[in-house]
Symmetry: C2
Subunit: 225 residues, 2 copies
């Protein structure tokens, strides 16, 4: 099996995924659903951020989420605490989500009812980057606990994201994170990308973050009308 | 391209890696080098633990390290601060190390001079699990900042490791980590696996950890003699 043969196969898999993602994106657009793909290291706080975000959004909108993990339904249960629709995707040994998994997970959901769909990817700083899931926006979480150098050492995913959320701001000092340096490193890899700072667990920074999501949704809806 | 065809190709790649790993392992054995493959999420503290470990080991032994990242030579520079030999492996977009990368990295090193070789894998809780690097032991780091549920949600890698190090113990309280629960979850996935608790940055727990490594090395050497 030659290197070029393996690359050809990878391209075919990606090609098929991208084609399906485009179809799903059109379906989301048709139904005015704003879709966000959340990527990060394991433990950056995606589930906690989503739980808090959906709790707040539910006051005026209809959010839902699908969440990918290798095993356990823990995250779907935690997300359901927000009162929003949530479904677990179990990937087994797979290190990322592909669009057919998302499509299967939302089967039976009436998209006309939804305003926001959050896709919580498998915690992995590399592999999810290649796979379009039909999202409007790719959101990357970085926790203050991960070290300021991560954007430079793992540039793949961050260089394809539309928004960055620095989470666990409440413990930045305790873990000796230089947040200004982290921001500089993010912008070195992805110049100009919007950065939000949150403490999902304690509630800090959530207002600006949620206002941003609502604005994105309203703009999409207005453009479609 | 059918699913079974893709699986066949994956098996071939793994088969070739395993074969090369066996050859490298024999070379390590012949030269009494104790080899450890360190895996974890990005930011769990592999580099800091290795730097501290090699500084200490150097008093009586000859340690060396190779370290994998997608980009930057930062980690090799940090590891070299210990005074030990250290080499960076740049993986580009690759999410794990394969044995040929390790083989190339140590080319030119005289293995008869070495006692310990540490291989710091790419930070990734899933993909490195499939790839044998010729190591004697696979060490998994989990930081207290990652959440107690990680062993259950990402069981692949932990179920193939020989030792677990819970790192960042010094901030366990600040990040509200229930260490006893984390240990229970580790043992649920990997019953009986030895667990060490360290604060690589502050020095806590390092004595027991280093004594364990030295014992492993001495046992290997005694068995070979």
């Amino acid at each position: 099996m030659t290197e070029s043969r393996i690359l050809t196969i990878k391209k075919k898999i990606l090609g098929k995924n991208d084609q399906m993602a485009q179809g799903l994106r059109e379906e989301f657009d048709l139904n005015d659903v704003f879709v966000a793909n959340l990527v990060s290291s394991p433990g950056a706080g995606k589930t906690e951020l989503l739980r808090a975000t959906m709790s707040e959004l539910r006051k005026n909108y209809v959010p839902a989420a699908v969440t990918g993990d290798l095993a356990t339904e823990n995250d779907a249960h935690r997300l359901a605490e927000s009162g929003a629709l949530a479904k677990q995707i179990l990937t087994g040994t797979m290190c990322h989500l592909e669009v057919d998994m998302v499509q299967n997970a939302i089967k039976g959901w009436d998209l006309t009812d939804l305003d926001f769909l959050f896709i919580e990817n498998v915690g992995n700083l590399v592999c999810p980057g290649d796979f379009d899931l039909g999202e409007d926006t790719r959101i990357m979480l970085i926790a203050t606990t991960e070290g300021e150098d991560k954007p430079l050492k793992y540039p793949t995913l961050i260089s394809t994201c539309d928004v960055v959320v620095i989470n666990k701001m409440d413990i930045a000092e305790a873990v000796e994170c230089d947040v200004a340096l982290l921001e500089r490193n993010i912008h070195e890899v992805r110049p100009g990308v919007p950065i939000f700072k949150t403490s999902a667990k304690k509630g800090g920074g959530m207002d600006a973050w949620i206002a941003f999501l609502i604005e994105q949704f309203e703009v999409k809806k207005a453009q479609a009308a």
